[in-house]
């Protein structure tokens, strides 16, 4: 089922949470809504689910205007951040809930429900735990029960709110891989919310980067990481070093010197690059030149704090641990990839 979001606006007590955004989600796609707290990503997910009503705008499931329908009628599978499992029901009862509450004419027979529950438990690798209660399960198990419960109603769209947020790092990695396989097997259109960029980049077909109720950029992991569309995206995804620069005559200038990078436009701008994505140079005929003022050991590299000559602006550069540059007090380098965004005002 494809989902189209058209000019959705949502205000909470006059405070805008979403500012008229649009998004097309293709059928069977796995989409991540990525952004910091308060960016509106969870609000967008809840709007798709029907747990919130938009102030303006429409949401289409296929050709059908879902925004006029209640959450029950939308037939979505929603996995809540803290799973919201019914604590007084067993695992099996939790999963069967969505089928048991159906009106008599569409409710499957008891034996059919039992079979569906057992199939679903099988699918999420929890067979044998049907008699357990939620508080007898580990975090990862609860997560999968919540997913099985959402899948039981054969939803048209699967929506997950911070699916791995409450789990520890190891379980999180395992489940991430598992969810990807699960999606590839079932082929449900899936939207999940996360504030963890690693999760979004690794898992999603496309990442929707959000900030302050707006979509900053939509694209594959390659797009948003290698070709960030705005300063926000560059800062938010991956590491970023930034330098205030000036663009003149198609060249990037820091103060009174060029640094050997070509750029379009004119006037003040900010140059972004990844700290680990630089070439170290011996001589410097137009490059970044600075004094190392600090050094920290990262897992696989050494991060140097460099004060640039002239502007005295401080930036960070990663150097391989065994690289001679790590031992020097002066550093000449040039970023391999970079982006410049004009400075507003």
């Amino acid at each position: 089922m494809d989902v189209r979001i058209k000019n959705i606006r949502k205000e909470f007590a006059r405070f805008p949470a979403l500012n008229g955004l649009s998004l097309d989600i293709a059928s069977s796609e796995l989409i991540a809504l990525l952004g910091p707290s308060g960016s509106g990503k969870t609000t967008l997910l809840r709007l798709i689910a029907g747990l919130e009503q938009p102030t303006e705008g429409q949401i289409f499931f296929g050709d059908e205007d879902a925004s006029l329908k209640s959450v029950q009628e939308r037939n979505i599978g929603f996995v809540f951040q803290h799973y919201a499992l019914f604590r007084h029901m067993t695992v099996a009862e939790n999963i069967a809930f969505g089928l048991k509450v159906r009106p008599a004419d569409t409710r499957p027979a008891k034996s059919e429900i039992r079979k569906r529950v057992s199939d679903l438990l099988d699918m999420v690798h929890l067979s044998g735990l049907e008699k357990r209660y939620p508080n007898q399960l580990s975090g990862g198990q609860r997560q999968r029960v919540a997913l099985a419960r959402a899948m039981a109603i054969e939803p048209r769209v699967l929506l997950l709110d911070e699916p791995f947020g409450a789990l520890d790092a190891k379980v999180r990695k395992e489940l991430r891989k598992w969810l990807r396989e699960f999606h590839d097997r079932t082929g449900h259109t899936t939207v999940f919310v996360t504030h963890d960029q690693e999760e979004a980049l690794e898992l999603a077909d496309r990442v929707v980067v959000m900030s302050q109720g707006r979509i900053e950029q939509v694209g594959s992991a390659d797009d948003v990481y290698d070709r960030p569309g705005s300063p926000f995206v560059h800062r938010f995804i991956g590491e970023a070093s930034e330098v205030p620069v000036r663009i003149e005559n198609g060249e990037v200038w820091i103060d009174d010197r060029t640094v050997g990078l070509k750029a379009e436009g004119n006037g003040p701008a900010t140059l972004f690059f990844r700290p680990h994505d630089v070439d170290f140079l011996e001589g410097c005929g137009g490059c970044f030149e600075g004094v190392v003022v600090g050094s920290r050991r990262l897992a696989g590299a050494r991060r140097l704090e460099v004060e640039l000559g002239g502007s005295r602006h401080r930036i960070e550069v990663d150097v391989p641990v065994d690289h001679p540059a790590a031992m020097k007090s002066g550093l000449n380098f040039r970023p391999r990839h970079w982006a410049v965004f004009p400075t507003n005002g």
Binding site: A49, G50, L51, V71, Q72, N75, I76, G77, F78, F80, H82, A84, L85, F86, R87, H88, F97, G98, V101, R102, P134, N135, R142, R149, A150, A152, I153
Partner: protein, 286 residues
């Protein structure tokens, strides 16, 4: 080991002398205020022998009083069960204008003297009130009759269930309800299968306290009852009358029933707190 105990004192603790002294004060206070009166009730009730004790319950007026008390509780408690759950549901799960005001209103019976609450109903529905003549012409009697006693009891005992459920429901939030709705459940199914089971022990706790108060209420009921013997006298009122007639044995005999009710309530309450404390008080998450 013993040296370590004496040398390193618990920073939040007191010296042994103080601890013993404070404990003694507390125990003495409890003995005088709670335990001694309780013993007195049973002692006085049986002073003239078991025969006299059981005779007190043979008396028609006593039987009528017990029956009336049970009737009032049987009406008032279910009513407050419905009101309490409805109020708690509305306050905990929804946002609306005047919510704080509603919460304050729920607390009103706790902060107002029961005699005043009784008087309010007399002023509203009594013979001298604006409504009095209308009610009378319809042959409806509220004051000095069962409806008045029930009204006064409902008013006084209203906060018990609502007050117990509101923090519990607020703490649980709306996540479970949203999950149920997203799975296709109707509002009623959500309430019945999800909300209510989530608060069932807290609800039972509230019902218990509400019932104890409903059976024991004196002030408000005294004002609206009119003290018609064998007709509008509940157990507490009957005890007072017997006592004023110097019929101590009978008065204390009936009083043992209320004391027993209190003890059973206390026992059940403690049991609930022990077994389901985390589901009664706020703070449970899975």
């Amino acid at each position: 080991m013993s040296e370590a105990v004496s040398r390193y004192r618990d920073p939040a603790g007191e010296s042994p002398t103080w601890r013993v002294l404070l404990t003694l004060v507390a125990v003495a206070f409890l003995a005088i205020v709670v335990i001694l009166p309780l013993i007195t009730v049973f002692y006085e009730a049986f002073r003239k022998g078991a025969a006299a004790f059981f005779e007190a319950f043979q008396e028609p007026d006593a039987i009528a009083a017990i029956r009336l008390t049970l009737t009032v509780a049987a009406i008032a408690v279910p009513l407050n069960l419905v009101f309490g759950v409805a109020a708690a549901w509305a306050i905990a799960k929804f946002d609306f204008r005047g919510k704080t005001f509603l919460v304050t209103l729920i607390d009103l019976p706790f902060s107002i003297s029961p005699v005043i609450s009784g008087l309010v109903y007399v002023l509203l529905f009594g013979a001298q009130s604006y409504l009095g003549p209308i009610l009378k012409s319809q042959g409806i009697q509220i004051i000095f009759a069962l409806p008045g006693i029930v009204l006064a009891t409902v008013f006084v005992t209203f906060p018990f269930i609502a007050r117990e459920l509101i923090p519990l429901m607020q703490e649980q939030g709306t996540g479970d309800e949203e999950a149920a709705l997203s799975l296709g459940a109707t509002g009623w199914q959500t309430f019945w299968y999800v909300t209510l089971p989530n608060v069932k022990w807290g609800l039972l706790y509230g019902v218990l306290l509400c019932n104890a108060r409903a059976m024991g209420e004196f002030g408000a009921v005294s004002v609206v009852s009119g003290h018609v013997r064998g007709l509008t006298e509940t157990m507490p009122l009957h005890i007072e009358i017997l006592y004023n007639e110097y019929n101590f044995a009978a008065a204390f005999a009936i009083a043992t029933l209320l004391a027993l009710l209190a003890l059973v309530t206390l026992a059940l309450k403690t049991l609930l707190e022990l077994r389901y404390g985390d589901e009664i008080a706020a703070g449970r998450k899975h």
